[in-house]
């Protein structure tokens, strides 16, 4: 081959290289992930996005919630501070000692709540702006809108109960950098938003879902939570109109009853029963058995773990391994003396709420444990009941009583709950029916408070109740009130009515007001 030819061949080879290297199109590489802009094209895709919003509930209730692992479930935030459960070990959630804005559990809860709100906002926007023809099933678009409104309301409800007015409101769909530093809400703004959303959600939602979708939000759930939010707002701002509105909302609930057996409300085989309004749907994790490990932080709303934390006990304490104590992280959980003493001796609910085990010499909480299903690694697949009819009946009693309604109607509502408990035992006489002739509203209010303590003990309702009653001046909280096991270690102050806005927020958001006192 002649040299010049060779040079030319090499030359053309090089030129070809340049043109290849010059092609800017080579830089346009498709994202390896599904993008929001290309999603939301079918009902099935909407369902996936909606499942993604429900999945944020996992953070609240799962053993493997965000930052989860062993001692750090978020459940303790609303379960431990009340006067129904106490610990022997030192926990800031039990005795308020060392509670500060650096607390990791509080920080995780704060974050999880806003993840829930952000996802709900995004899907809500896309549901409302769905392209024509995407939704074909009648009413599905409305149902989906209602679900998103409900979950957004639930997030705001939880934030108000934990942080009070110091948490910001979040109803923005798309956020730009300048919208990222919201200021604190004021007064009951968070509850107001929840009430607005739930008022819209009720008429949009179905009465029930088909078998494959059991567990999704229903109209009953929306009316129940609406009633609850109204009673809460009324408690702290003493507005009769809210109580009246609460009664109206609760009366819209249809088809719900107090199931004959109180224990069915905590039995994994009786999930979503006729007493249920809304539950966290615990289940075996997606990735197969053994993949839920309560000892590890699975960073989880996103990882496919959906076991619940109740029933996550030390392996040596599983009932089937001969153990009896309830371990909810950070130590052993016991009923307070107040809870132990408030039940009539033979109230059937007593033995179902805590058992007295000779082996340990101490009664321990067993409400969700007696009929539990444990998954591998000590996780529970029993649904935590978020809202049930008995709770709502007692709220209605409270609303009737405090809106100036008939005292006998209020007492009758309390008695419905007591009657169900009594009738669990054939020929049962305890708890006795309350005297319907009583007219002292303070006495009746105390009955409601006591009944709520007994009926809803260890279900994560108690702290929110005594917190709102305290703010509304219905009772006075002090160290003695909590009936702690280790009373010398109690450090309750008024500031503890709110958990502190975490440093993770105040460090980044200049507009937020830090919770005073911390």
């Amino acid at each position: 081959m002649k040299k010049t030819n060779l040079i030319k061949i090499v030359f053309f080879f090089l030129i070809a290289f340049i043109f290849e290297a010059c092609n800017k199109k080579n830089l346009d590489i498709t994202s390896p992930q599904i993008t929001e802009g290309s999603f939301f094209t079918s009902e099935a895709e909407y369902r996936m996005a909606i499942v993604g919003v429900y999945a944020t509930l996992t953070d609240y209730f799962s053993s493997a919630s965000i930052g989860g692992a062993n001692n750090t479930s978020q459940t303790k935030i609303w379960t431990l501070p009340g006067d129904d459960i106490a610990m022997a070990d030192n926990s800031p959630f039990d005795n308020f000692q060392n509670m500060n804005p650096g607390n990791g559990d509080v920080s995780n809860f704060f974050r999880s709540s806003y993840v829930m709100l952000n996802r709900a906002n995004k899907v809500l926007f896309n549901v409302r702006n769905a392209k024509p023809g995407v939704f074909n099933t009648p009413n599905l678009q409305k149902h989906n809108e209602g679900e998103m409104l409900f979950l957004r309301a639930y997030g705001h409800y939880m934030l108000w109960n934990v942080f009070g007015m110091y948490a910001p409101l979040d109803t923005l769909t798309n956020k730009s950098l300048d919208q990222l530093n919201p200021s604190s809400s004021t007064g009951t703004q968070l509850l107001d938003q929840a009430i607005r959303d739930l008022t819209l959600a009720g008429p949009l939602l179905p009465a029930s879902w088909d078998n494959a979708n059991t567990g999704r939000v229903t109209a009953n759930a929306a009316y129940g939570l609406l009633g609850k939010c109204l009673v809460f707002r009324a408690t702290v701002s003493n507005t009769a109109a809210d109580y009246t509105a609460a009664i109206t909302a609760i009366d819209k609930i249809s088809g719900r009853i107090l199931v004959p057996n109180f224990a069915d409300n905590f039995n994994f085989e009786k999930e979503n029963n006729p007493e249920s309004l809304f539950e966290f749907q615990a289940g075996a994790p997606l990735r197969g058995p053994g993949q839920t490990n309560v000892w590890l932080a699975n960073d989880a709303a996103d990882i496919g773990v959906s076991s619940a934390y109740w029933g996550s006990f030390g392996f040596w304490d599983l009932p089937n391994a001969g153990g009896n104590n309830s371990w909810m992280g950070g130590g052993w959980w016991f009923p307070t003396d107040k809870l132990k003493n408030i039940f009539a001796a033979t109230d059937p609910r007593k033995e179902l709420t805590f058992g007295n085990y000779a082996a340990w010499g101490t009664p321990s909480i067993k409400k969700y444990i007696s009929a539990n299903r444990n998954d591998a690694h000590n996780a529970s697949v029993n649904n935590p009941r978020i809202l049930r009819y008995a709770d709502v009946i007692l709220l209605k009693a409270e609303a009737v009583l405090n809106s100036g309604g008939s005292t006998s109607t209020a007492i009758d509502l309390i008695n419905q709950v007591r009657e169900r408990a009594r009738k669990m035992v054939t020929g049962g006489t305890v708890p006795l029916a309350l005297n319907a002739a009583e007219t002292n509203r303070t006495t009746i209010m105390q009955w409601i408070m006591d009944e709520r303590l007994m009926e809803l003990a260890a279900e994560g309702q108690r702290w929110f109740d005594i917190r709102r009653w305290s703010i509304g001046g219905k009772l006075t909280l002090n160290n003695a009130f909590f009936s702690a096991i280790n009373s010398a270690q109690m450090r309750f102050e008024t500031k503890n009515l709110n958990f502190p806005i975490p440093f993770s927020e105040t460090d980044r958001n200049v507009n937020i007001t830090p919770t005073p006192g911390f």
């Binding site: 040079i7 830089l27 390896p32 993008t35 993840v115 979708n213 567990g215 990735r287 053994g290 450090r491």
Partner: protein, 1088 residues
């Protein structure tokens, strides 16, 4: 599809560049001159001895010969032409062909520092002609390191380059930082091996921040470069030097050049060998069983929490239990003490290196082949690394104008690490000292942590702990080792081919295709019986999808991470001298594509046979994971260098880069730089300063880019990588797959830019003394940071935004001295670098102080409380509490507890500034700057002497002005937990009779929060280390000549990491539980 070949796609510079091709292609330059035979002798200018193997070339041609054993050469050359004499790496000496045909030449046999050839990006320069800031080391300094990978060879040897060792694990990645830290994350430099820019999947910021770091595997891929194959390492430090690598250069560029054959040389075979052992220089001192029992009993009794609740001395059976109760039959306080550190240390851990290299060249072909074997048994049992490497490069001329070449490098390494979560370092001292290690009755010979109380079936897992509940034992590492394995194989290759035309003298046009594949496979095996040695045992059947009672399923996992990186490049290089002017032009166009693919699967097998483990694994039972990342980068480069009479220098570089990580329209960035130099010593007025042999002042300024801090596609709202899911349905609930869009899209995201200025000088004084000084000032602007947004945004992923600015500035000083006094040769060299690092801008001026980022502070500074002191009496507490409230502890301190300083008040609303008005409340706002983690300075110096055949050298290095939170001490002196053993220093804890002012009291649960993150555990991490001492003997040539085979023979003894001076109380200021090993080696270098 037909691709449209349009010049419109290319920037102007490339139209010019293409035109240049055409011009050069048709311009013929023909040398038509008469030839003459020239002969002569080459001798050493100092010793007058003949020099062998000196390359003699006809200038402007590829004709060349070498001198024979008598230093004599004969060559045919054109009359009036020039001959170029090159010896070793020295500056070629040019001489005119004499009419007589006789040309005797004297050359220096040792290279002058200013004449060394330095590899710069896309070319090379004489050191004397450099205008940018570049540090260089040669093979002699590189060989000093015994590490598997090249980074540690740079440690302490190069100004501006800080290498933090990764400890004793031979396969771990060291940290390399050039001139400070220019960005908050992904500050690793670019590595370029023989012109191939490497890319490693999982390095930098990646799409899946949760899984990617583990998928990348902990193996250091740069072990692909056998340090023995390296000719030199150049580090490009400032913009004028590094701008040729534009987008990837902001963190500096490490150019590694490997050895090649020498033109005209005969086949030369070098054989290197060394062998040695390594030991752990220091271990923890921990409590023995008696001390431990007393310590925890006391700490327990100090806790009011438990005093209220359960009887002392030892609490309920479920808590501390009867193992601590002297009256109980289960009491363990009289047990012997077991030394776990001692048990896991591998005595006589061997290090072995063999390397053989053959190289040579004919007139037209240069070749080099090498092969190496290294084995490094780490100082802990079960860890080892073994590498086989081969490399070859060959270049050949095809005719007069064309040259082609090929370069290939292959390695196979296998690394062993223990499987499972066994503690494989000295933190194993935390075992309760009564926890036995060995057990003759156990089939594996190691003590299990549990008593099995019945048969294990898929549904039941009956066992009990051997100790009280609060005494979690540590995993039995040796038992884990016997029942698991974790092997990583790295089979990787780098190669390139090129073809180059040289149509006229001075012009080279080169096309190259380079590739690299890193293939790292990790295999794990955990035997069915492994559970008994773990801290959190699980039923081994859980890992099987369909467990069969009576079988023994064992867990296996397999992870393959593959990075494929290809680079296409065309390069034009033109050099021309006219009169006293010297011009050099470089143009380059390249495209780099890389993909990263990971496949991971795990499951169970029913065999323990190592040969069968990875076949027929029941992969249905558990996870599979796949990932694919794809990136593309296009770059155009133009560089013009000009100097007049080697006196005035000017150089300009423009690079334009496009990256697939940004949104269309934001992909391209332009990075210019310029530099000037002035050789002052060439000026007349310098003549009177005769001690100044050479002095050059230089300065440069330029812009560099960095794209590594964004994962790409951040301009799109994309689905999260772990799909959320939720159970729905009545009866048996079904899991439903969901989706979420957890990030926020930033369509404005663009390049982060580093503005870098450098000024310095190079000088040679008194013939033997060399000085290089640099001042650098670098500001990174628009740093792409994945900002953790306020949680109230609900946005889960980091939000990538161009926000922060960081300043790095400092000086570098490099000194060298070489002198021969009689028969004694002396050499000394040293370097010093200072770094001032400061964050100068952040998003909305928001600091992430807890994460070590705040305006005015160096990256990674330590943020915590300042200790005030220790309460010595209740009276002191009462007085203190009158003024102060501590909101972090329980507010009820006891004598012996610590108090902390009240430094700031609550932040004012609307501000993130720390509020200097104190509020008598000690809370989170009182945390402050308690230390910096970027060293303020680092240095190295070496000295050597030789006499006749003997040589001795010592190399020291160190860092200063740096602090570290001693996390190991924080655990070892925690005094608040249970079960874990503590350092013996806790015996000095405060008690009413031992009123310590530094060590608080031991109290179970630490109610006062003495252990909060404070300066209590912050220590100076400065150190000064004797890194290397070598004594060698080279046999005289006269003796070797008699063998007729050996050309060179040197034997040596080396000690590495011989002593460290530091105030740090841990084992090693660089590595806490895995200190760098002390090594002793003997070795030989032989040439045939």
């Amino acid at each position: 599809m037909i691709k449209k070949l349009s010049l419109r796609d290319c920037p102007l510079v490339f139209k010019f560049f293409s035109l240049l091709f055409v011009v050069t292609l048709f311009s013929h330059s023909i040398f038509a001159q008469g030839n003459i035979t020239v002969t002569g002798k080459v001798i050493d200018v100092d010793t007058k001895a003949p020099l062998v193997n000196v390359s003699v070339m006809v200038k402007g041609s590829k004709n060349g010969v070498v001198t024979n054993n008598a230093g004599v050469y004969t060559i045919t050359a054109p009359t009036g032409g020039k001959l170029v004499f090159t010896y070793l790496g020295n500056t070629p000496d040019e001489e005119n062909v004499t009419a007589s045909g006789v040309l005797n030449v004297s050359l220096s046999s040792k290279p002058k520092s200013m004449d060394e050839i330095v590899v710069v990006g896309y070319g090379s320069r004489k050191k004397r002609d450099l205008v940018g800031a570049i540090s260089v080391i040669g093979s002699k300094d590189i060989e000093r390191s015994t590490a598997l990978s090249p980074e540690l060879a740079m440690q302490g040897q190069m100004a501006g380059v800080r290498v933090a060792s990764a400890g004793g694990d031979p396969s771990a990645r060291p940290t390399v930082r050039i001139r400070g830290v220019s960005t908050m994350n992904s500050a690793d430099p670019l590595y370029v091996i023989d012109g191939i820019p490497l890319a490693e999947g999982g390095a930098g910021v990646t799409v899946d921040g949760t899984n990617d770091p583990t998928l990348r595997t902990p193996i250091n891929i740069y072990t692909i470069i056998n340090p023995n194959d390296i000719e030199s390492i150049s580090v490009l430090k400032d913009a004028s030097a590094a701008a040729v690598y534009g987008v990837r250069a902001a963190n500096g560029v490490v150019l590694i050049t490997t050895k090649t054959g020498k033109r005209g040389g005969k086949l030369k075979v070098d054989f290197d060998f060394n062998h040695g052992t390594q030991i752990i220089p220091k271990t923890y001192s921990f409590l023995n069983t008696q001390q431990y029992t007393k310590f925890y009993t006391d700490a327990y009794n100090n806790s009011p929490q438990l005093l209220n609740n359960v009887p002392v001395p030892i609490g309920a059976a479920a808590d501390f239990g009867n193992v601590m109760d002297p009256t109980s039959p289960k009491y363990l306080g009289n047990s012997p003490t077991y030394d776990w550190q001692d048990a896991i240390i591998n005595r006589n851990a061997a290090i072995t290196n063999y390397n053989v290299r053959g190289s040579g060249g004919t007139e037209n072909t240069l070749y080099n082949f090498s092969a190496g074997y290294s084995k490094n048994d780490a100082p802990f049992k079960g860890i080892s690394s073994e590498r086989y490497s081969v490399s070859s490069n060959i270049t050949s001329k095809v005719g007069k104008y064309i040259e082609t070449g090929m370069n290939i490098r292959l390695i196979q390494t296998s690394n062993n690490q223990v499987g499972g979560s066994g503690t494989n370092d000295l933190s194993i001292y935390k075992a309760a000292p009564w926890q036995p290690i060995f057990d003759n009755t156990n089939p594996y010979g190691f003590a299990s942590l549990y008593n099995q109380t019945g048969p294990i079936t898929p549904g039941s897992f009956p066992f009990e702990t051997k100790y009280g509940r609060q005494f979690y034992p540590v995993a039995n590492y040796l038992g884990r080792l016997a029942t698991s394995s974790n092997t990583t194989n790295n089979q990787s290759a780098i190669g390139n081919v090129f073809v180059q035309i040289q149509p006229v003298e001075g012009l080279r046009i080169k096309g190259s295709y380079s590739g690299q594949i890193f293939n790292i496979e990790s295999k794990g095996y955990t035997d069915f019986d492994n559970w008994q040695y773990g801290e959190t045992p699980g039923n081994p059947f859980q890992l099987a999808a369909r467990p069969v009672a009576g079988t023994r399923p064992s867990a296996v996992s397999n992870n393959t991470s593959t990075t494929v990186n290809t680079i296409k490049a065309v390069n034009v290089d033109y050099t021309k001298s006219f009169g006293k002017s010297n011009l050099s032009v470089t143009l380059d166009a390249s495209q780099q594509d890389y993909t990263w693919t990971v496949k991971r699967a795990s499951g169970t097998v029913l065999t323990s046979n190592p040969d069968l483990r990875y076949f027929n694994a029941d992969l249905n039972s558990a996870g599979t994971y796949g990932l694919r990342g794809k990136y593309s980068l296009i770059g155009y480069l133009a560089r013009v260098s000009y100097n007049f009479d080697n006196k005035y220098y000017i150089e300009g570089v423009v690079r334009r880069d496009g990256s697939s990580r940004f949104a269309p329209g934001k992909q391209f960035g332009t990075f210019p730089s310029g530099a000037v130099g002035w050789r002052v010593s060439k000026e007349r007025f310098m003549d009177k300063f005769s001690f100044v042999n050479d002095l050059k002042i230089r300065g440069g300024y330029g812009v560099l880019g960095n794209e590594q801090t964004t994962a790409g596609w951040k301009y799109i709202s994309a689905a999260g990588t772990n799909p959320p899911n939720y159970n729905l349905g009545s009866g048996s609930q079904n899991n439903n797959l969901g989706i979420s869009f957890p990030n926020a899209a930033n369509t404005d995201l663009t390049w982060e830019k580093l503005y870098s200025a450098n000024i310095g000088f190079d000088a040679v004084l008194f013939n033997d003394f060399s000085v290089t000084f640099d001042y650098y000032h670098k500001t990174t602007k628009g740093i792409i940071q994945s900002v953790a947004l306020p949680p109230s945004s609900g946005i889960q992923s980091g939000y990538d935004v161009n926000i922060a600015s960081v300043l790095n500035r400092g000086i570098e000083l490099q000194l060298g001295y070489n002198k021969k006094i009689g028969e004694v040769g002396l050499s000394f060299s040293s370097n010093l670098t200072t770094v001032h690092n400061e964050v100068t801008a952040l998003l909305n001026n928001l600091s992430n102080r807890g994460g070590g980022i705040a305006i005015g502070k160096p990256i990674g500074y330590l943020f915590g409380y300042k200790v005030g002191g220790i309460f010595q009496s209740q009276a002191e507490i009462d007085a203190w509490k009158l003024k102060n409230t501590d909101r972090i502890g329980n507010g009820d301190p006891k004598p012996g507890d610590m108090y902390f300083q009240d430094l700031y008040g609550a932040t004012k609303t609307g501000s993130t500034e720390q509020n200097g008005v104190t509020d008598s409340i000690i809370n989170g706002f009182d945390q402050t700057d308690i230390g910096k983690t970027i060293p303020g300075f680092f240095y190295g110096f070496s000295m050597g002497a030789d006499y006749k055949g003997f040589d001795i050298s010592a190399f020291f290095q160190g860092v200063g002005d740096v602090q570290k939170f001693n996390g190991t001490r924080a655990a070892g002196e925690q005094m608040s937990g249970f079960g874990r053993n503590q350092w013996t220093s806790v015996l000095n804890a405060w008690t009413p009779t031992n009123k310590s002012t530094t060590m608080p009291r031991a109290v179970y649960q630490d109610l006062n929060s003495n252990n909060r993150f404070s300066d209590r555990f912050v220590e100076s991490a400065s150190f000064f280390r004797l890194q290397n001492v070598t004594v060698g003997y080279t046999f005289p040539k006269k003796i070797l000549e008699k063998t007729n085979v050996l050309q060179n023979l040197r034997l040596f003894v080396t000690g590495i990491n011989l002593f460290t001076i530091t105030k740090y109380t841990g084992l090693d200021p660089e590595n806490d539980n895995y200190p760098s090993t002390r090594q002793f080696l003997v070795g030989a270098k032989v040439s045939f």
